[in-house]
Symmetry: C2
Subunit: 340 residues, 2 copies
Amino acid sequence: MTSVNGLRRSLVLKRRPDGEPGPEDFQMVETALPAPGHGEVLTRTIWLSIDPYMRGRLYDRPSYAPSVGIGETMTGETVGEVIASADPGFAPGDYVVGSRGWETHSLSKASDLTKLPASSAHLSAYLGVLGMPGTTAYSGLKDIGQPKAGETVVVSAASGPVGSVAGQLAKRAGCRVVGVAGGPDKCLWVQEALGFDDCIDHRSHDVATALRAACPDGIDVYWENVGGAVQAAAFGQLNFFARVVMCGMVAQYNDARPPPGPNLGFVVGKRVRIEGLIVFDKPERYGEWRALAAPWVADGSLKYRETVADGLETAPQALADVLSGGNFGKMLVRVGPERV
Amino acid sequence: MTSVNGLRRSLVLKRRPDGEPGPEDFQMVETALPAPGHGEVLTRTIWLSIDPYMRGRLYDRPSYAPSVGIGETMTGETVGEVIASADPGFAPGDYVVGSRGWETHSLSKASDLTKLPASSAHLSAYLGVLGMPGTTAYSGLKDIGQPKAGETVVVSAASGPVGSVAGQLAKRAGCRVVGVAGGPDKCLWVQEALGFDDCIDHRSHDVATALRAACPDGIDVYWENVGGAVQAAAFGQLNFFARVVMCGMVAQYNDARPPPGPNLGFVVGKRVRIEGLIVFDKPERYGEWRALAAPWVADGSLKYRETVADGLETAPQALADVLSGGNFGKMLVRVGPERV
């Protein structure tokens, strides 16, 4: 039936990581390939997306999504190829994207899958610029940030798959856009390739001082991906009626007891709005964004970048890298080839 | 022309207070009564409103309103009686409310004044329940908090002129309403007179523990008047999609260097919205609220309470009291009699 001898390999959670997650927290298990029942589709995994939010699934505490149980396959979004289908909407050879797991093969309900264009030259893009991270950027600016031409927008983790799209969209909206990223290579790419007006290397600069120089008119929209010192610096320079898109605080995801935050007195007098964002609250944004952005990806005007790790077994280290900024652009694991 | 021998007494700022403000920071000065020019109105002050926001005007730092300069008359809202008018819209004997100052007489542009009903039995109410604090409560719930029937609303400084109205409005909206106030007398009044479902005395209870008991379904709307430990406790119990109306953080107004705040990681996953409120951003709310609430005040269904200090010279101590919770309900200074 398949080229993997009828076996599925899956990474299951062995124990809850203390601090940074690593390979020792997961275990590779092999099981027989399941056969799709009525309305189900079996796929082989090509691309596995690695995202900071995954760290939250490893804690045993209430969150917006259930945590992964010990012995359960770790969850994740993937792009795959259909190898068997018991649903009339899908046929072997179709490419699909959906929320599945850290596994070589997935059995999914057909209704949980989105079919991708057969001719796509950018399959992996549906996990990044055209997928969950890109949609997050689109939704966060549309629903919370609402940047207006002439405003100043600051984006943390600016070279990542969310920040890079948020900043490019803010540039399209006519804003002054300043990124914050870790290291000179990332900052150079953010300025040169993505066209941000400035990018601050938080590893070699005092962020508050550098932001003050880069944002002479203050900050109208702050896109929060990181928390910590970058948050403190940005919050201190917000303008009246500024909006803060709270997308993530990756700097503290490995901390069981996060540190104190900023004093919020400024929120009153400046009438700041701080609002949390989870992309799946507005599922209609996915389709809107794909329709809007696919032509921009095709014509090269919307830029993205990927870091690829090879083999399912690299996923735990890839997650650790994402949490420490070891990736550059969208972090992906290549679980299988695009064409077989 | 008047009964004060043609002199106006004013409290001017002598020096910027270090910590709690007091009488020694102000100076009483006497000047000749001014005569109204074209379009101007001269009033004698009856009621002076004392509000926590005034502490911010005493700092020499940028804020949403200019700070009061050394030697300048302290600003404040007052209810007064017209004693001379050079504007066709006002005549001696009219009662008016407006932003003026800590002074026995005020010269105002007619356009800055609102005429009060001649028959009002509640002149002082136009500085409290029907004035800026009441309008703040109305606007904050309408524009930010948006409580829905069945939700749980927590109001800090619940016996104050803002909190008491916010809570009564949330009750009218069908919510479970829990107050936080300082001392058993205030808590009793909040529960018995205002009809809150519960009220926690933050001086004798651990607020987090007491809130957990009083809010078994978590908190959907938190009305922030105080900051500090009450804020930390409330933020820790917010529900998904909770709204926080950031109206004030009086616990720290005397601190030149406010303490750290809460870690904001929860804002992302819970999609909390935290938004600052200054009532004069939506001036139309004043008239809306007066029209809505005046009948409720007249029929006694909207309750309020006042603490009155006698004589303009008591204003500095009254401000210190408001900042430390020494008032009970709306803090007022009686500068002159209602009828002469």
